[in-house]
Amino acid sequence: MENPLHHFELHPLVHLTLLGFDISINKAILAMWAGLAAVFILFMIVVRGGLSLVPGKIQSLGEISVDFIRDMVNEYIGADGMKFFPFIATLFFFILACNLVGLIPGSYTLTSQLAVTGAFAGAIFILTLIVGFARHGLHFLSILVPPGIPKVLIPLMVPIEIISQLARPISLSVRLFANMTAGHTVLGVLFALATATALWIGWMPFGFTILINGLEMFIAFIQAYIFTTLTCVYIGDVIKLH
């Protein structure tokens, strides 16, 4: 049976180097471009089609999704949240598009690479640090001391808080990566089972792949939603500071 993790391997399709860096184009990069193009084209259609007071189908889709993210930003970040709205919206649509593009058979799920999700989470972590220090100055370090604890406990709580703060970007990246990888591995195993057996029994795993594919579509939405919600929560935390 074929190794179910085989389809996560990346091989360069076009070899390129720039200033000594390997920037070869592989399947993941093509999938990323496809995701970007999908989002871009969708919103170009929405805007170019002429915005009408009574929205059509595609305009409704665009409005509902943007509205959904705006509610999320308002709820978790607060009144200043709209400054971060473009970033949060971009993040949501990009992750969602990458997750969904990965479900097309033969394409690649960009978010199943820990390097990609780790880069997102690391960038968000650095962003929260910058926002925190810009807003509160050195007072930002008081995020490491929870309010209302006795002074005796401070030496114990500070290491715990440092770990809990550092764990955030890691859990953010691992969650997205692990869920996408797990789903596609299950699909890979089921397809391998379907092709390895005779038709009279092979229809069963094949039927399951269709069900799991539907579930994966749902998980693609859920994971994009969780990733952006938590980004909002983390940014909101450093803005409100307790």
Binding site: I160, I163, S164, A167, S171, R175, N179, Q223, Y225, I226
Partner: protein, 85 residues
């Protein structure tokens, strides 16, 4: 919020809390191990790191849970207000 929204939120919570605990413990252990390797005091910082990491994980889960409870309280208030109107 509609029923579908509640389901989506519930799944969000489920996915969120699971990794939170694991990652914090692993991170604490890794930091303790690195400190041990640097100072040469095996295995004491590893032990302390696992304990602190576990505590940090519990703290993260507790905080996430508090947020959820607050949200639900707010929703409940809004719902009763709507009913009164």
């Amino acid at each position: 919020m509609s029923q579908g929204g509640g389901f989506r939120k519930g799944l969000g919570i489920a996915y969120r809390l699971g990794t939170e605990l694991l990652v914090a413990t692993m991170l604490g252990a890794a930091m303790g191990y690195a400190l041990d390797r640097a100072i040469g005091s095996e295995p004491w910082f590893l032990v302390a790191g696992i304990l602190l990491g576990g505590a940090a994980g519990c703290l993260n889960v507790f905080r996430a849970f508090q947020e959820i409870v607050q949200e639900e309280d707010q929703e409940e208030k809004e719902r009763t207000k709507e009913r009164d109107d």
